[in-house]
């Protein structure tokens, strides 16, 4: 039953869906993934110019075809300054086709978090291709190999990097780690960011690897948190109910510490309980994403499960940069997809990879233990 999925499947993406998907991607982005503002403006414009985007479910993908995961690599602070060139996304797809000799039949998001959940929508609109309702993370993660294709043993294949100058690079890395290394260096020289395609595979492989339904889920989350038909006080409860999520803690942030290590922010926030959690405390550990939560010193949830912080009143997601003293928040947890709970999944993005000295336990088990303690 793991892996969050909610809402009716999307059939098309229109301009009015974009803000919903962006906020949903911020929730699934678990506090990271970068600001989706530029991506949202770009996607709305692309849809206005080229038309609505057809959505195809992972299950309905034919075994053949050629599906291109499109995203951006590089520094978020460069992406908000040196925005993509018009046609940059199409150029990346053209280059993939030219270098592989195969025609792309659908686009898919690499991750469903921050701006990278919206960039592929622009790409699909521009090329008139359908977009796959699924992605290869089911959340946001900071590194290129943290994708389900890698977990299933697939190499990145032909990697494409395109910049806004008109430069492009085709790489053929041995595996996900090499893709990360090569792409970082190339994108740095391209000016700090680039459009990237890797793990382009036929439908059969995507059906095996992709986490299904994540675009529809993101859209539904946005509708729950922004829509007019739900009252503010019901938003979080509705979200947890529909996504089979868990309420981990309600409280007030009483301290936030941050340090920069090797270009990544690493920090922790301490919360004092409110309402039913009065007399308890909670600690959140984050890097670019929220990665670990403990309640009264006991593990409450840990990566790769999803930990998201929401504003207590409005239910709006709070990014790691926005954490600060005095904020009233609700911490919620969602089970990650089964792929992440395998040995390979935990080695790639489990607590040990991020240097936390705890054993992984699924969030639903941790919550059950906490419930028993409370009784």
């Amino acid at each position: 039953m793991t892996a969050v999925r909610a809402g009716n499947p999307l059939h098309t993406i229109t301009e009015s869906d974009i803000d919903f998907i962006a906020i949903g991607a911020a929730v699934l982005g678990t506090g990271g993934g970068g600001d989706p503002h530029v991506g949202a403006l770009q996607a709305k414009r692309a849809i206005r110019e080229f038309g609505e985007v057809e959505v195809i479910s992972v299950e309905a993908l034919p075994d053949g075809g050629f599906i291109a995961p499109v995203g951006m690599i590089g520094a978020p602070s460069v992406a908000i300054e040196k925005i993509q060139a018009e046609g940059e996304l199409a150029a990346a797809i053209d280059l993939l086709e030219a270098s592989t000799g195969q025609s792309v039949t659908a686009i898919m998001p690499t991750e469903i978090g921050g701006g990278n959940s919206l960039v592929p929508i622009s790409a699909a609109a521009e090329r008139g291709l359908p977009i796959v309702d699924g992605d290869s993370m089911g959340r946001a993660f900071p590194e290129a190999p943290m994708v389900t294709f890698h977990l299933a043993g697939y190499a990145p294949g032909r990697g494409i990097l395109v910049d806004s100058h008109g430069n492009s690079a085709v790489i053929q890395p041995k595996d996900g780690m090499w893709a990360e290394r090569l792409a970082r260096v190339i994108s740095f020289e391209m000016g700090g960011n680039a459009t990237m395609i890797d793990y382009a595979y036929p439908g059969k492989v995507v059906k095996e690897c992709a986490i299904p339904g994540t675009l529809s889920t993101a859209r539904r989350i946005g509708e729950i948190l922004l829509g007019n038909d739900i009252r503010d006080e019901d938003r979080v409860a509705t979200l947890l109910n529909e996504l089979s999520g868990f309420h981990l803690f309600s409280g007030k942030i009483t301290a936030v510490e941050r340090a920069i290590q090797g270009g990544f922010t690493r920090g922790q926030a301490t919360l004092d309980g409110l309402d039913k959690d009065r007399d308890s405390t909670f600690e959140l550990q984050f890097q670019n994403e929220m990665l670990l939560g403990t309640r009264n010193g006991q593990l409450a949830a840990v990566t790769p499960d999803l930990i998201t912080v929401l504003d207590q009143v409005t239910g709006q997601p709070i990014t790691t940069e926005m954490l600060r003293y005095g904020a009233r928040v609700v911490v919620v947890g969602f089970p990650s997809h089964e792929y992440w709970r395998t040995e390979m999944g935990l080695a790639t993005a489990g607590p040990g990879y991020f240097n936390y000295d705890v054993d992984y336990t699924p969030v639903e088990k941790l919550v059950a233990v906490q419930e028993r303690v409370k009784l």
Binding site: L41, A75, K82, I83, A85, E86, H165, G192
Partner: protein, 516 residues
Amino acid sequence: MSYRIGIDVGGTNTDAALLDDQLRVITTVKVPTKTNSGEGITHVIERLMRRSGISGAEVSTAMLGTTHCTNAIVQRKGLRRVGILRIGGPATTAVPPFEGWPADLRATVEGYAAVITGGHEFNGREISRLDRDAVLRACTEMRGLVDAVAVVGVFSSVNIEHETIVGKIVREELDVPVSLSSQIGTIGLLERENATILNAALIQTLGDMADGFQRALDSYGIAAKIYFGQNDGTLMSLDYALQFPVLTIGCGPTNSIRGAAHLSGVENALIVDIGGTTTDIGVLTNGFPRQSAHAVEIGGIRTNFRMPDVLSIGLGGGTIIRTNPADSQENLTLGPDSVGYRISQESLVFGGNTLTTTDIAVAAGRLNIAGRRSPQILPELFQGAERAIRSTLEEAIDRMKPSANPVPIVLVGGGSIISPLSLEGTSSIMRPEHAEAANAVGAALGDIAAQVENVFSLKEISRAEAVSRARIEVIERTITAGASPSGVEVISIEEFPVAYMEDAFIVRVRAAGQLA
């Protein structure tokens, strides 16, 4: 003796304060803000001069904090047509200028837009050679269509070269004001571009406002030098304000924070400004208001313009208290609506029928109104209302505290009498004399400040060199803004690493000085 006048034009009231050259408050007055804000200003100057009995010739400086520019944007009135030249091609074309603007604001402001080949990378290298011919062509096309031009270069916060060249060409070709983005904002192209466009659109708007202010002063024989309040609570000269009118946005709350600091003599505190309808809580850090870390929306568009970090809640001196007999859990509600300026007719103490927070303050003995008796309020209702006011203020204060430690509180504003004199989480509560006009007092203080925010790469220059350049630049800017060259001091230097970019740093330097 020479005097200074501080005026704060708010949504409800226009306040004015007269200070002497030792910054002692001589007198303050309050009049309703008229729809035509020039009228309110004339009225308040007249009252102030009459009450103080000093002559216009004795007033050497006049400071104005005004929401005029904010209102112009929100109401889409009085804005001029702007031509925007974004220098960044071939990058950035996926999101052109004005994308995402509300249609009515765009229709009011957009005169011309082009993306010119040029701009820089994060490390200062050129994206492309600047296409000067394209700039000349754009000037030809813009002529007659625009009242002002905004120039925005990609990564101009790292390298201002292309932006400066384009600005110079536009000034030579067209006789209109030009705003350069590197002087207005930091990283975040669209937000900085939006702020620069708004700045250009407001230049004439502020000019008209300044003319009206000048005429009002002239009519009372006041030959004072004019200054405008800016968003960090400091002042800028008229000439500087005409270059950077967008900096006047958000000066209201900061005026009252700075005024509260001056009146109370504290440098670090929470300032709780209780008006008729709302309470604004700001944070005073080393004598200056704390600024917000988030992107700010003005009139429906996102800017990276830094605003004072203020929490507004719906509690003021006119807030209506209602009983809810049906609900036994919560037997009363506090607002959020207020009787506003009708308080002197509608609240119980003035013989009206509406129970307000002011009635509770009178019943609690915190306020005496001459010739009025304390209203009859049931004891449970009185206690419930006091509890509700207390917990609302305590929660809001707690949200704004920089840490869990108790903080000193300075209470200001006309509604400040509704606050209990002890609150949880606070170390002391002060309500200084003239607290009701702290905003006008804040406007009259003579600090001038400026900020410079640059990005640098450790590969290009050393950290010490980057900071030293920023220091020189910010001191120059502070003097340009109207500070006396002798006393300008750098008041803060902050450095932030740029995420995912180990070599890139942002340096933000602020300096302040006194009026020249």
